[in-house]
């Protein structure tokens, strides 16, 4: 008899418990989920449950079996109601018998949590006011995804995901599909690269996807982030992406994090994932992930685009191949433009995100592809590709040792924040304006400001004192950060950049 069953009749919990009796067992733990009279502020009068029975029974049985293996318990079973339920009815029952109580409790908890996340069950709530609504709380129970789960309607009779077209591939097959299902991938950035990455990984049935993005959708994103809608501008991209993933493939467990990856949260957020995909648009994030790969041995695949071209690199912490820092020891944000500054044609990140998804699936399936340390460069103007081999730099070894012994390094304080220029002046900074003369005329800075446009930065750097405490300033903080980095590399170690540029002063004023 299957250890997971649906029932249209009331659950006979005494009979279910009797079936798990075993003389080898010293403990029995059970959980019952009941129909309660309210949900998120709505008074509920009764409930209906529906399930894709065939798929759901298989998945449920798999969960119970996983729990038995994982916790070494003797017997376990789960029963779930479908059909119409009244207040107080038992909706779901889990029972576990084991030699000792600890594994019985843990296995019981595991089963109910996994059933809620993984088994396709839909719940229709009937409210006191006569309204009713289908809610998929059972399956979108991840806390971060909770805010969006009621915004999209789940089709009650939607078909189950069908991977037959990829299972048909000799290199994938049923076994490969199971590998994808058990895989967990963290996608850092839900923008131009992240959108195709998430679409294809969700479509392929990768079991768990983490999404990190601190930004909200802007109209200027949409020419390349074509998964989103104009009407959704202003909303968090991580939540929008998570909702899209769930709509595309409800089997995927998705977690959305509306935050920026930093030295303090990186390790926690990356834990539990088999592969990290860098779909970010800045070097601070890329180097943080690089250092995490060094420290933890976790594989990271990097992608970056610029106008009509891009670069793809796989870093494996456990191999002797090159890291991102071996290739770019000194790369800084603002040195070369990102999409906002330099422009980009929409399909360019589309191509690279698709390539990244392809390489990720191949990586998870153990198929040949981009080798660790190798960089793929694809120029989409000439359609020329290059695969360049990079070598591990000795400094990276030193870095790995340093990384394995301590905390991840926060990027040094190249950028500083001030609410006003007066604050910056009283902090002892002399101002260096790196904007061009047209911008300077339109928005002049205090009279004693040095003017050092980007184009003359290095030739005119002699005007600065090596030990001077300078604050580089531009409109948005990008050019000034690049200028400060460049000057630091030339020995001007006290250079800083005004974070967010003049724009940030206006906002805070």
């Amino acid at each position: 008899m299957s250890p997971f069953r649906f029932s249209t009749d009331a659950l006979d919990t005494a009979a279910l418990q009797r079936a798990l009796r075993d003389e080898r067992c010293g403990g029995f733990a059970s959980f019952e989920g009941w129909v309660r009279n309210h949900n998120e502020g709505h008074a509920v009068t009764r409930l209906e449950y529906e399930a894709f029975t065939e798929l759901a029974e298989k998945e449920g049985a798999r969960i119970v079996e996983e729990a038995r293996t994982k916790f070494g318990v003797t017997r376990a079973a789960c029963a779930h109601r479908v059909g119409s339920l009244a207040l107080g009815d038992v909706a779901v029952w889990v029972g576990v018998s084991a030699a000792h109580r600890d594994e019985a409790f843990r296995a019981c908890r595991f089963i109910i949590d996994e059933v809620k996340h993984r088994v396709p069950i839909w719940k229709k709530e009937h409210y006191v006011n006569g309204d009713s609504g289908w809610v998929n709380c059972e399956r979108c129970a991840m806390p971060a995804a909770h805010t969006h789960e009621h915004e999209h309607q789940h089709a009650v009779h939607a078909p189950a995901p069908d991977y037959s077209r990829q299972i048909a591939l000799r290199e994938v097959g049923v076994e490969g599909q199971a590998q994808l299902r058990s895989a967990s991938v963290l996608v850092v950035g839900a923008g131009g690269l992240g959108v195709p990455v998430l679409q294809y990984l969700a479509g392929a049935g990768v079991g768990r996807l983490g999404i990190i993005d601190a930004d909200r959708l802007e109209p200027s994103n949409l020419h390349r982030q074509t998964w989103y809608a104009l009407s959704e501008c202003g909303q968090e991209k991580s939540s929008l992406a998570a909702a899209r993933v769930s709509a595309l493939n409800p089997e995927v467990r998705v977690e959305a994090h509306a935050l920026r990856l930093d030295a303090h949260n990186a390790e926690r957020l990356c834990a539990g994932h088999d592969l990290i995909l860098d779909c970010s648009d800045n070097f601070a994030t890329k180097f943080l992930l690089n250092d995490l790969a060094l420290r933890t041995g976790k594989p990271v695949m990097f992608a970056s685009v610029y106008q009509y071209e891009g670069q793809l690199q796989l870093v494996r912490g456990d191999s002797a191949t090159a890291f991102l820092r071996c290739v770019w020891p000194d790369a800084r944000d603002g040195l070369v433009g990102n999409c906002a500054e330099a422009g980009v044609l929409g399909p360019v990140p589309g191509v690279f995100g698709s390539l990244q998804a392809l390489e990720a699936l191949k990586f998870l399936l153990g198929l040949p592809g981009l080798k660790p340390g190798e960089m793929l460069i694809f120029d989409l103007i000439t359609l020329r590709t290059q695969r360049l081999r990079a070598h591990r730099q000795p400094e990276c070894e030193a870095h790995r040792r340093a990384a394995s012994s301590g905390e991840l390094q926060a990027p040094d304080e190249l950028e500083v924040h001030f609410s006003s220029l007066a604050d910056a002046a009283s902090a002892g900074f002399a101002f260096v304006d790196v904007r061009d003369s047209r911008e300077r005329e339109a928005e002049p800075l205090p009279a004693d400001t040095l003017h050092l446009p980007m184009s003359k930065l290095l030739t005119d750097a002699a005007k600065l004192a090596l030990t001077g405490r300078y604050l580089m300033i531009c409109a948005t903080g990008k050019r000034s950060a690049a200028a400060a980095a460049l000057l630091r590399s030339q020995g001007f170690l006290e250079c800083r950049s005004l974070r967010g540029g003049l724009k940030s002063l206006k906002v805070s004023a």
Binding site: G189, G191, C279, D281, S304, T382, L388, S455, L458
Partner: protein, 82 residues
């Protein structure tokens, strides 16, 4: 050293500033550093070599690595867009 033919490819900002993706040059430059210095007299390249990587014949190389006739040299700036 006498001049010989080197094939050069430009990426990202360098492509933009050179106004081309690639070219074949006759040069006496002994290594990528000299070659890049020579190219900076012809093109308005803003990035110093420290900020770039050079690859010779599909392998990331050193700025001081000797160049031979027929070498394919690629100058690559870091890119971070996404």
């Amino acid at each position: 050293m006498s001049a010989r033919e080197i094939r050069v490819q430009y990426y990202a900002l360098l492509r933009e500033q050179a106004g081309r993706s690639d070219e074949t040059l006759t040069t006496a430059a002994r290594d990528p550093r000299e070659l890049y210095a020579e190219l900076r007299t012809r093109y308005p390249f803003t990035l110093p070599p420290e900020m770039l990587r050079v690859a010779i014949n599909a392998e990331f190389g050193e700025w001081s690595q000797p160049l031979k006739a027929g070498d394919a040299v690629v100058f690559i700036p870091p890119v971070a867009g996404g």
